[in-house]
């Protein structure tokens, strides 16, 4: 049995953690807002795919073109994230920030059966972030000749951070879901903007820090849009109904 290379183990654990945090954030967000069963199934399927990919391709994984993958997934996150972003803004502007907490479902169009949309969201988040982890594993493993230690470091990262993410479930479900939908939408379009832009060759100011300022920008825009949407709703009611508008119909 090969000895554990502590240096490689710690390096891959820490390097992987940066990506795994993003992976877990997506899985927990999808689980809390849509369906835990679908989200965890998507994550499990994604992890299974990654294990198969690592076993089958090994060092050849470094040749997988990440940029086209980032473009496709970034574009899809932009379009789907925009739907959550819009719905969150519209509902918060209509019902207020505390609406949707407790047992109420966030998405009125949730299917009766298995939530395939939640499954795909979670699956994509895990496979994209996981592919980066896999590349880290292969790169470290190849450089140090210690694939086992590199894979163990990444697996430990997934287990530790995954457990932390699931432990925060109770806190996450207490958050009002209309507001959460708004913030998750902002998060999805943040990653979508970053990955799609990066794949096109955009030089983001601050490099990886662009994720932070893009997220702040989208959240700030959402807060402004919540205020504006409330005003638009009142204006439209006044224009169309005049003095006969029902009392208290708009907040």
């Amino acid at each position: 049995m090969p000895e554990l290379d502590t240096g490689v183990f710690i390096s891959t654990f820490l390097a992987s953690s940066i990506e795994v945090i993003e992976m877990v954030a997506i899985v927990v967000a999808v689980g809390a807002t849509r369906s835990w069963r679908a989200s965890l199934a998507g994550a499990a399927a994604g992890l299974l795919i990654l294990v198969v990919v690592i076993v089958l391709f090994g060092t050849a994984l470094q040749a997988v073109p990440l940029e086209p993958l980032r473009f496709v997934i970034g574009a899809l996150l932009l379009t789907f994230g925009s739907q959550w972003y819009r719905k969150g803004i519209e509902r918060v502007s209509r019902d207020g920030w505390s609406a949707g907490s407790g047992e109420e479902e966030i998405d009125e169009t949730m299917p009766d059966g298995f939530d395939w949309t939640g499954f795909v969201l979670s699956f994509k988040g895990v496979t994209l972030e996981g592919l980066e982890v896999a590349i880290i594993v292969v790169a470290f493993g190849a450089a140090a000749g210690a694939f086992g230690s590199a894979a163990l470091g990444a697996a430990a990262s997934v287990l530790v951070i995954g457990a932390l993410g699931l432990a925060s479930y109770r806190v996450v479900v207490r958050i009002p879901r209309r507001a959460l939908q708004l913030f998750v939408g902002a998060m999805l379009i943040t990653f979508g903007t970053f990955w799609a832009g990066e794949s096109l060759g955009v030089a983001w100011p601050g490099n990886e820090l662009a994720l932070a300022w893009l997220g702040a920008l989208y959240v700030a825009a959402a807060l402004v849009l919540v205020r504006l949407a409330s005003g638009w709703r009142i204006d439209a009611g006044t224009l169309s109904a005049g003095p006969t508008a029902p009392e208290g119909a708009a907040q």
């Binding site: 789907f80 925009s82 739907q83 903007t193 955009v202 100011p205 638009w232």
Partner: protein
């Protein structure tokens, strides 16, 4: 055969909903924004500002259309 056709239809309906949702103009604006970003990058011009502007602008326009239509429907005397 019928099951296969149903499965294929469901597959495309899923992706249509996933990409376009309830407002196809947002997806179209994002597609246009991606093309314009690529053109700016190819021209050697700063392109980082364009996608956020397109995404926020397209969503703002969609929200405006949606809430005003919703409010007018609510206020219409029956």
């Amino acid at each position: 055969m019928t099951t296969l056709v149903r499965w294929v239809r469901a597959f495309f309906a899923f992706w249509k909903g996933y990409i376009f949702g309830d407002d196809w103009t947002v997806a179209a604006a994002i597609a246009g924004g991606l093309v314009a970003t690529w053109l700016l990058v190819e021209a050697g011009l700063p392109a980082w500002w364009l996608l956020p502007v397109v995404v926020i602008g397209a969503n703002a326009r969609s929200i405006h259309r949606s809430v005003t239509a919703e409010r007018r429907e609510d206020s219409t005397p029956r």
